[in-house]
Symmetry: C2
Subunit: 347 residues, 2 copies
Amino acid sequence: MLVKDIGEFRLIEMLSAVLDNSETIRDVRRDDAVFRLQLSIGDDAAVWKGPAGTRVMTSDAMVEGVHFDLDHIGWADLGWKAMVVNLSDIAAMGCMPLYSTVTLGLRADLSVAGLVDMYQGMSKACQLYGGSIVGGDVVRSPTFFIAVTLTGSANPDNNWEDDAARLLTRDAALVGDVVAITGTLGCSTGGLRMNLGGLSFDGDVEAHLRKAHQRPTPRVMDGMALVRQGVVAAIDISDGLVDDLNKLCEASGVGARLVSDLLPVDVFLRRAYPDDWLTLALTGGEDYELLFASNKDTMGQITSTLDVPVTVIGEFVDKSLGVTVVDECGSEIAIRGSGWDHFAQHE
Amino acid sequence: MLVKDIGEFRLIEMLSAVLDNSETIRDVRRDDAVFRLQLSIGDDAAVWKGPAGTRVMTSDAMVEGVHFDLDHIGWADLGWKAMVVNLSDIAAMGCMPLYSTVTLGLRADLSVAGLVDMYQGMSKACQLYGGSIVGGDVVRSPTFFIAVTLTGSANPDNNWEDDAARLLTRDAALVGDVVAITGTLGCSTGGLRMNLGGLSFDGDVEAHLRKAHQRPTPRVMDGMALVRQGVVAAIDISDGLVDDLNKLCEASGVGARLVSDLLPVDVFLRRAYPDDWLTLALTGGEDYELLFASNKDTMGQITSTLDVPVTVIGEFVDKSLGVTVVDECGSEIAIRGSGWDHFAQHE
């Protein structure tokens, strides 16, 4: 069987099974210091408890021709995104970014000035949202790639007993919780489609979509604020709302019902794509907003506390009801067409 | 200017300068917890002090066609090496491996069974030498690559004041220290040359060289033992003895004089390459032995404490004398020919 014959997620399952079956030491004991692994492959980041609290670690890579094309993205934006995809994973755990290593696989004919710009983009993202590049590796490679690893720390006032509740994980959404999201949806994909198709819109719309795609915002402070408000379940939107909601539901053992009219879709996206904005909002990737579950009663407090707008877009329901999207009349909207095909290209 | 116009090390300098000039937060303060960066790009691993002690983090990638060829290495051996190059960096800091993420860039036509074997090789290395694979990323890539990041911990009984001395770093060798090394030299390159050239030797020799190349041993326990013995300066041999000694000397601001007769070269390498063994021992890469500096007076204690054989092979001298190799008569041996050409291919 070849890689192309199975999906990314099935492959990850098979590789994870190797580790589960091995005698790899998950809990490392050394004198009084116990490093206890809490969560491994399967959430936005791995989590362990050490003597000074809970630490997380995530890795995300970008490959030329698969995740980016130098004809369509500037060097500084590329660096920004390579760091932001990792910052967003730490945000989705409700943690503070700490340290990062950057591994570069470089073609010999890449521009050195471009790489310096790229590093400046990475560095800028760290200045604004946290994390420090402390090392890495530079190797020759026929294909240009950027592999970033980022560590983070949960709130240090957590104590050993209760800090399982002081993280955002994928497996903690409950039936009856509301489905909520930060920011707006679909603009990143709208910007990508504009770039690839050479589309042009009026100045404000174009600038907004371009920025959404090339300079996404990781919701780091918001993730930490959600933890302080008692939220326990979240994921970041990297593969699209419906896709990532499915992952959250699967991990939590619940279903979800979204109401399309509630989706936060900004006016720029509606103007640029009057026929398609709903599909883009439901299935477009790389928004890097936080999708989370919350008790109904605390949503008011959350909405007033976070700096970013927060919108309730549905509710978590019994697993048997699956994940559905309904319009204002309660009729189910079919989203398995263009949405899912789009993801097939990702794998 | 293109990547091919400058060497790996000059490029790393330029990228590091971006970080130095930026306002990236190197010391992260949060409530009572200060994470203070000690060492960044330029040693075997980045180092920082957090509330519970000193932590290190390293990344090393292997790229198909550059670092390995599936026609010449088995899947399990490939996984083993991808993990061991990182374990060896942690060993060279005198630290204990903790947690690792593995990012795989995969061609669609790679074998899934092969990848499972590869993961078993990685897992096996972790079982024997420490570290746990806790996460990572799987992406499509036209070029197969494996990018590993590994964290580690310095001795937890270090306290805040003195633990700078409880790590092995590249910048701490002193004039008058002896140059010492664990294990033997040159067999990994001897094994590589045998594989690539289709050479055959008698059974014992062949098995020994193959193992040296495909299943190198990271000196994790030995690195920690060196710290306990008061050693402060070390590097692991990844690019060859002379090359890595030059890096150690440059970081420490010293020179070194090696005596060729003292080099630990095993009988298998001498039998396989009767004319070349000295060149292989001086310049061959991927031995993953620890090269370290020690006070003369403590070498006896070190030799009797470590499980692996340790050999004094020269001494550190004034920087103005450079790095030289002399034969038993004190005549300098020219090593800039084949040795340095070999490294040019690496970059």
